[in-house]
Subunit: 492 residues, 2 copies
Amino acid sequence: MSKVITPQEQDYSKWYNDIVVEADLADHSAVRGCMVIKPHGYAIWEKMQQALDKMFKDTGHVNAYFPLFIPKSLFEAEEKNAEGFAKECAVVTHYRLKSDPQNKGKLIVDPEARLEEELIVRPTSEAIIWNTYKGWIQSYRDLPLLINQWANVVRWEMRTRLFLRTAEFLWQEGHTAHATKEEALIETKQMLDVYAHFAEKFMAVPVIKGVKTANERFAGADDTYCIEALMQDGKALQAGTSHFLGQNFAKAFDVKFANKEGKLDYVWATSWGVSTRLMGALIMSHSDNHGLVIPPKLAPTQVIIVPIYKGEEGLQKISVYAGELKKRLQEKNISVKFDSRDSLRPGFKFAEHELKGIPVRIGIGERDLENGTLEIARRDTLSKASIKMEEAETYIEKLLEEIQTNLYNKAAERMKNMTTKVDTYQEFKKVLDEKSGFVLAHWDGTSETEEKIKEETKATIRCIPLNNPEERGVCIYSGKPSTQRVLFARAY
Amino acid sequence: MSKVITPQEQDYSKWYNDIVVEADLADHSAVRGCMVIKPHGYAIWEKMQQALDKMFKDTGHVNAYFPLFIPKSLFEAEEKNAEGFAKECAVVTHYRLKSDPQNKGKLIVDPEARLEEELIVRPTSEAIIWNTYKGWIQSYRDLPLLINQWANVVRWEMRTRLFLRTAEFLWQEGHTAHATKEEALIETKQMLDVYAHFAEKFMAVPVIKGVKTANERFAGADDTYCIEALMQDGKALQAGTSHFLGQNFAKAFDVKFANKEGKLDYVWATSWGVSTRLMGALIMSHSDNHGLVIPPKLAPTQVIIVPIYKGEEGLQKISVYAGELKKRLQEKNISVKFDSRDSLRPGFKFAEHELKGIPVRIGIGERDLENGTLEIARRDTLSKASIKMEEAETYIEKLLEEIQTNLYNKAAERMKNMTTKVDTYQEFKKVLDEKSGFVLAHWDGTSETEEKIKEETKATIRCIPLNNPEERGVCIYSGKPSTQRVLFARAY
């Protein structure tokens, strides 16, 4: 490998960055805060998209596409939403460049091509979509609208980090319109469940489902539901959000419908999204000092076959054997590649595939041909086993399932161990500093206390977990009575 | 239906717009020149994407994602490219809004948040990609790079038309890097063939492959190859382009590689793209006064089943029968829906599915249950047939193929009839005005003549067809000698 990964223990943040760059997932670009998603990273994102898109369609949603730009007058229509995003908006003001008269071969913005109204590059699309829905919704017969969009969005972040926080990122945003509050609430929760299912079953990342406090709510929402995951370093990461928007956008854009009784009412709304940030969650849930670890269900290549040979003839013999194996694995819908590159040593290839996180590596040497065997290495545990060629597809199919389960179990065990109940503020701070992770503590329910705690400890309320047991206690900060614990953590 | 489509004969342009809007393909948005791609339109675009993406991957390409924004200094690096796009660039100049002190609840662009360097919203991505490739390419071992990107781009067009010419559109752009000129040329032509195959086999649109004249070349290319299609109204439409970029971008961004001999050389480049413009080509190749006609291979729903019944009990009986039929069709990988909406009459449904272009409609009445029959209507010819239920899946599978072929043949026949050889300028103008279509004529090879003809007749040279027979003649305009005919047309 061209470069060794900085060990987690030495510098977690550098470790993360090394993995992203060295495993060919993404890289910084010439544009401040924007990343290039490299082919290996994009291939994993495509696997995520496919799985999510299928779940969206299975729950009755369709895809559409709305403009990248939002005229300022529309953007500011829903005041809270506008206020929430105003400070991080990229703004298009001109529509033409011209030759620089002072500087041959250079261009300047043409001052005569100033837009009458500035255009905001979408940080989220509620405004442009609800302005469109106004034309699509007249009666209850037009409802529900269940629409999703795969798109890029821009939020001008000052401190950026590959995948976790970038000025431009890729995401999907669902925007639904309903005749009743109840139906919109059901949708909001349904999509939260879809996200939780995806995180746990595909990403092998356990999550806590909950609802945000008023402070942490999406700008313009009545309620924000979220899934929160815990990274290896004990910091939380918000992995997806589903918003109940009430009638806020319908009122801002005057979207009314005639109900069955012919009475006009404002439409109820939800929106929900996950982004390339999930790539960060994936990396920080499973990877190690050897590089990336990808759960089999999201691995573009699940199995890599590496020949170990001497001379042209050796390679040829192994190629026939590997071809047979490849065919048998493909028949089981396992994605497999044969790494026949002749210019690289097997050891180099092993390290590269380890770095890139391929779940299963099969080594085939000339002795394996004689014995009818294969050497199997799993990426998650780095353990090896020799198996018989004839049992290959059954063994590997099971192994992939086992790796998927093992990654989830390991992450779930870690989350369990890193979740601590505390009853005093002193204990709270001690846990945050010495152990980190999720901290369950009583809170008096006020924004004031929440902000004080954040100021003093950098921990935020990640969510009020759903199905939280009722429990009488006192707020760790104010000592005021509380009826349930909430989930605190320092977060990405 | 809510609205009747304006007949083609009456106003072709209005007919086109009616189809796009009424068949729920796309609509104008609140943003000047930008469209909303509606769910039915987006579903067809997704089918196109899937087919193309598979072909790209089958030819060894991988997907990646590069930033939406291009810093001005990078944008202007390749001078011809910059000059070609400068007049239609959306420019981001600020990164923050703030409250308007004059106007409560309104926002203004924060003058203090002016970018040090303006960002261009990508009209095409050569600049940002080649600036990135510089970091990825050192030696011949890093080549070829075969990368594609699915993205949105913005070109500030003054006169826009849904799908055909919009300020923002969706596309894919392939950007490849090669060690030799020969390899880059092979790639350029390979991707042209991929596009031609897609147009003919999936879209059922016959195309002429050719190379552009210097005048019509992509800004920054040494050669632009294209596929040209002919619409029903006799106007040409450029459906895809594949550019041989020579070493222009490598030189502009200083991208050199060490070849096998260790000598440094500039990298050779290609780029190629198709866009949502293809939706326009699809619509204008097959649709009629009843609405859209979709070739089966790109139809999100290939078969729609409509029950014709009286009362709840009637519907229930038909549903069982339809369910059985649906299952049998799905086993043949045919996408099928059962339209059980109870509030609409069959006649209304028939018209709606016709308008939306579903290739095959199956009507099931109570008498069909008794007789074990189905009524099949094909969208392309509007003809009907009664068939036996037991032969349904075989019949329909064959019928879908037949419709696909028939649409292609009809379009090919039209293109043949609408391609005219002329030998004088007078004849040339007469054909353009009275018959329209493609006109094959001799041209002296100068840009001057080409521009004069364009000025006087609005016809442009669409391409110099590949494998053009050599034929001695004289230029219709200048009378100078010529060795081949070129393809003229008025175009979208």
